[in-house]
Each structure stands twice: as C-alpha cells, then as structure tokens.
Point group: C2
Chain length 216, copies 2
Amino acid sequence: MKIAVLGTGEVGRRLAGKLIEAGHEVTLGSRTAGNTAAVAWAAETGGRHDAFEGAAASAELIVNATPGQVSVEALTAAGAANLAGKVLLDVANPLDFSDGPRAVTFENGISLAEHIQRTFPSARVVKSLCTVNNAVMADPSRVPSPHHIFVSGDDDEAKDVTKRLLGDLGWGPDQILDLGPLTTARPIEQYVVLWVALAQALGTQDFNIAVQRAAG
Amino acid sequence: MKIAVLGTGEVGRRLAGKLIEAGHEVTLGSRTAGNTAAVAWAAETGGRHDAFEGAAASAELIVNATPGQVSVEALTAAGAANLAGKVLLDVANPLDFSDGPRAVTFENGISLAEHIQRTFPSARVVKSLCTVNNAVMADPSRVPSPHHIFVSGDDDEAKDVTKRLLGDLGWGPDQILDLGPLTTARPIEQYVVLWVALAQALGTQDFNIAVQRAAG
C-alpha cells in the first residue's frame, strides 16, 4: 500500500520504518519539504519524504502521527481533498502537561479522533496505537503476552484495513480489541493519562496492558 | 479493625460482607437508619448497620462506597469530625451517563478523591478498587493472574493500611500497584470510562487489566 505517515517525531519515524519493512511504500510527511529529520530518515530507510500535502496526495492511507494539539492544523495543510475517502489512522495523543498530564478534549468533550472526523467528514477515521510507546507499537513482541491494542471507528472496512496494518506491525488478531464506534476514542485517549502515571510508577515506558477476563 | 462501609449498594454490601469474613467488625452505613438493604445485609452477615453518622463515629477506617456524585453529601452527613485522622478509602465512581459515559471532575478538573480530601482535610484519603466490578474487588482470584489494582494517596501510612485491607480481600502484594500521590486518582477515575467500553466490547463486567512490562 501507498502510505503517508504525517509527523517526523519518534512515533512517525518508527511506524514509517516498520511499515517499509512490511513491504509498504511509505512517504514521511512534514510541515515543510526538506525537513532534516525526514531527509535523514529517508536516507536510512529508503522511504520517501515530502511536505504534508504531497505526502497525503500520493497515499492510499494516511497515518496521523503529529502532536495531538496541532493535528487538525497538520491535516488541513495535508488538504481535505487528499484525505477524502481514505483511511485516516489517528495515533496522536492530545496531551497537555501544563497542570499535571491531562488529555485535551474538543467541542463538548469529544476526542481528538472525533474532532478530526467532524473536521474532515469524508475521511475514514480510525483511532488506534496511541496507548503504547512507539517501541511497543512497532514491536509488540517485546511485551510478554497477553497484552492488547484498541481500535475505534465508525467505518468497519476502514477498521479491517487498520487491523491488517496492525498485523504488519506484529499485532496478532487476538491482541486487537475492537471497542466499536469512534466515540470509544474518548476513553482510549483518556487512558493515556493513566499510561503516564503507570510509566512513572514503573520507571519505564516499555509496557502495555492486558485485558484479562474472569474464567468461566 | 472497626470499619464503616458507607453505601448500601452492591459494592458496599459486597465489600462489607467480605471484610466481615476477613475478621473485621463492620458497620454498613446508610443515609437513614433502618435502610431495608442494610437491615437485610446485617441479618444475613452478622454485621451491624447504622446511619452514616453513627457508622462513621464508631469506626477506625471508613470506606466510601456511595455513588460518586453524592459522596461529599454522604460524607458530610457522616460528619467531618468522625472522619478526622482516619483512613478514608474512596472506591466511588463519579460517572455520568447522560451524554455517553464520562467521569465527572471537580474544581478545575480534579478527581473525586482529591475533592473529598480538600473538603475533609483531616481525613487520610486513599483511592483504590474503583477500576473493577464488585465481584472482582472482593474476589480477585476469579480473574486469571496477572492482573492489577491501583492505589493513590498522599499519606503513606494510610496507603499501607489500605494495602493490608486489599490483602484481606484477596489481592496479593504483586497485584497492588501504588501510583503515588492522590493526584493519580484522576487517571484512575478516568480509566473507568475505558472499563465501561471494554465491558461493552467483551460482553462482561467480569474482567480486569494487567500491566505487562517488556522483558529485559
């Protein structure tokens, strides 16, 4: 697949690199063409790099790996027309650390993912992956099983595409928990504040949670 | 220990019953003396029942198992003087289901537990147990290990007392994760919205999460 990963931070670069290893044709998108991190990444991985707009235009699937508070701005730069009809996998976290960590919400308490969906109604938004650090995202086997990753979205076909992409990253079918509609991106994004507290208590970001059912 | 469990709902009755089995002297507290559920519970378990105030006055440790939105009102009825210097274990969830489930926050986004601590500064507030249903609270062995319960609070001695009480309920030392100060009650309370989504996706409330660290 032709994939644009928007965002040249650690998350974007790591995901983009792993998707190339999985056989995809990946363009790393940045605010401005010729971004130093993107150029270095491309030289290292054989991937492409471009500004948000060019990256999104040429892609069949878009990954939003920009910081949560500037994601709508970045996607606006990518161009609504370049998102239309495409799966838009949102892995961003809208965290605000100014008064203890909190997950920012949008219009009347909705999640970033819903805010993106409302802003770009023709995109097929799926939320996933934001509940683990980038090392676990791209290599879930580093955490002993069982452990789980969540998926939220209103478009079942877009979720199926996303689940296959999660499979390319190493997530097994039994590790993927589909929580249902995109409204469930709210608790997924809010959970990340607990993730921060857990990382602090454990002294590592290299962990994930498992959902364990009672026997019988 | 002499324990008052405030709240005659399923959580209060279940916790109070299990604490009696563990050898504690437990009074179930209700808004008005002679509450039907409390009377029936006392007849069944051999425990005591009383109004909030009498229950709190005679207790060394208080468990708040009232609904989160009326907890401060209930604790006010119990009497600030009857809470002073005592461990106050808050297991309540301030959930609002009017516009999809959300965890209500108080003054500037603080948690219920912090709100209780600010309202009753002489109480030694600890947050725990609110992240599992009452069956798992009182019998963690029904969920296959590993799985974890969180503890938040500013008073280390109060947290130690709470951890021993968790032990009485069946939680092993390796299942108890101390997240640190009472501010970490925020993510604990917010996580419960993810718990609701997971319960819906799994079709059961009989589960818990495990925190799994990466190997090495």
